[in-house]
Symmetry: C2
Subunit: 337 residues, 2 copies
DNA sequence: TTGAAAGCGCTAACAT
DNA sequence: ATGTTAGCGCTTTCAA
């Protein structure tokens, strides 16, 4: 069909073994032979078949990114795609293909086992949303090269990386204090929203360090939606003269509702109330004043995951530790007192 | 290393050819043999190697999704990932892997050629952002199974599908007229923003059909950003008593700025001014009143692309036509006069 | 430094 | 209905 290693060997007057060695940069080939082979390749416009090469080498040169996708996930979870983009950049740079596979959480085990047994990939990058203790057991038993994105909510043998949300919370609180705000309030998401809880934790830790304490009434929870945050903020404001001077919103949606409520109440940001939130999307730069945020380079999470999985593929039992990326404070107008 | 077809054949007391036939569902194998082979497979926990199978079959069972990714594209281009998710759903359902590859526009030709020659995929789904006349030539010459997402901006042999933005514009205008608005205004993006231009085109066509004409002063252009749209809207309002009674915003960002300007000017939506825009993200449901939009099921675009590319892989010279998906009107509060 | 030969694990005529 | 045989296109000992 197309030109193969045999054709090259014939034209170059060598064996296929020699051609193979030339392709793989063996040192034991004379300069002249190398040149002859290269010329033959050029002349025939030869390109080695990946499939054949991988079969012979017993590798796939592919990594599967496993997650749960569906209608609207492009909109509802841009972070995941940001990670995916970062991951792709390092994989393709190293000659690996990134195969993206969506899978229901209950089917993950069967899929991973099969994908491994039929040699569909050399390793897996798995979103925490689809993991389970069973998967942990499987991966541990079969020694599957993997890296989980997001900290598992249960103890496991998994290798994982995650964003340090607690640290992000610490940075938010520390920034407010530095700016001279003193009576901090926190509006979080629903119970069980781990991201929100970790951020809150960080905030509380910083207050404790400064021998401060957050008034009970300044700690609020609700849905991670604009509407809910609007009401919650209004509750907060009903406190009369016992008002906070800054609000930490657990995420962009909450921040949006919160800012709307403050505007409607005629409270000036940042003079009367400082506002800080997390992540730089989708509202932080659109609201006025523009919001100070603690953001995370999610793309970088993907890059880290890529480096990690490639290492695991090389040396399966190396680096069993966890890893964490750093948040970044982007100071804007909502906290300049 | 692992269990192969030979082991199965040996245990089942047949040839490997028979095992292969059993796997591929050949009709010319006796019931008993089939059962014996299946038992052997189970007993040995056999799983055929994809690499070997694909090599022998001269296929890859993979489709490459080619686009240009980078830091922030998860946020700035959620549509693309929505398409990707739709694409993945049909590919994986049909046993194909979706390989995602980011590539700079200037490297696309070389990449596609190489990927084809080294047999990395059976077909390509390519985002219009990275195409060029050279690519068209290459794909045409090498008869590469492909489908472009987005209408090429030049004449070509490409197979492509795209959203019908002109139709979306028509729907927006028609809806406003139906609601009783009569003096329509259009705020578009920059010159050269094809999406905005097509939408505008649709609007104008509908007006013409109704023997209406848009006042020059009601047709505005600016950047696709909230700030810019805020100013543009103010210009529009400075028209004194010559005001439109509805505004069509070319996208969500423009709509956001526009709504802010109207609010600050004390103009009531939808009573004094109807607002309609396109796409349901990220602001249309967060603004008050919630915005009526003409949206497109982008996920469905991915599904269509998937079906299309699989057909092309089967029969490379079938379906050379283009295809288009339908916009959907989501009626909300901003146009209930 | 080079090449012969035996794989990698499966498929696909062609016989039987 | 089943087996023989020759690939698919490349890699990798091992010997020369």
């Amino acid at each position: 069909m197309s030109v193969t290693i045999k054709d090259v060997a014939k034209l170059a007057g060598t064996s296929t073994a020699t051609v193979s060695k030339v392709m793989n940069g063996s040192y034991s080939i004379s300069r002249e032979t190398v040149e002859r082979v290269h010329r033959a390749m050029e002349e025939l416009n030869y390109h080695p078949s990946n499939a054949a090469r991988n079969l012979a080498k017993r590798v796939t040169k592919a990594v599967i990114f496993l997650t749960s996708l569906g209608r609207d996930s492009g909109f509802s979870n841009p972070h995941m795609f940001e990670i995916m983009a970062g991951l792709e950049s390092v994989l393709s740079e190293k000659g690996y293909a990134m195969t993206v596979r969506s899978i229901a959480p209950e089917d993950v085990c069967a899929y991973v086992q099969n994908a491994m047994e039929t040699k569909m990939a050399d390793g897996f990058v798995i979103h925490a949303a689809v993991i389970s203790p069973e998967l942990d057991e499987l991966i541990y038993r079969m020694e599957i090269p993997h890296i989980i994105i997001g900290m598992p909510g249960f103890t496991s043998h998994f290798c994982w990386i995650d964003i340090n949300n607690k640290l992000a919370g610490e940075m938010a609180a520390a920034h407010l204090l530095k700016q001279g705000y003193q009576k901090l309030s926190f509006i979080g998401g629903e119970e069980g929203d781990l991201i929100s809880e970790h951020r809150q934790q960080g905030v509380m830790d910083v207050l404790k360090e400064h021998d401060l304490i957050m008034s009970r009434r300044f700690l609020k929870h609700g849905e991670s939606a604009c509407d809910s945050a609007y009401s919650t903020t209004n509750e907060l404001l009903r406190g009369g003269n016992e008002l906070p001077d800054a609000i930490i919103c657990a995420n962009n949606y909450i921040a949006y509702g919160c800012v709307m409520a403050l505007k409607d109440a005629g409270i000036r940001i940042p003079e009367q109330m400082g506002i800080i939130t997390f992540d730089d999307y989708p509202f932080s730069q659109v609201l006025r004043p523009m919001l100070t945020v603690v953001s995370v380079d999610v793309y970088d999470v993907g890059i880290q995951a890529g480096r990690y999985i490639l290492q695991k593929i090389r040396k399966p039992n190396l680096f069993i530790q966890t890893y964490i990326t750093l948040p970044l404070l982007i100071e804007r107008d909502s906290t300049r007192k």
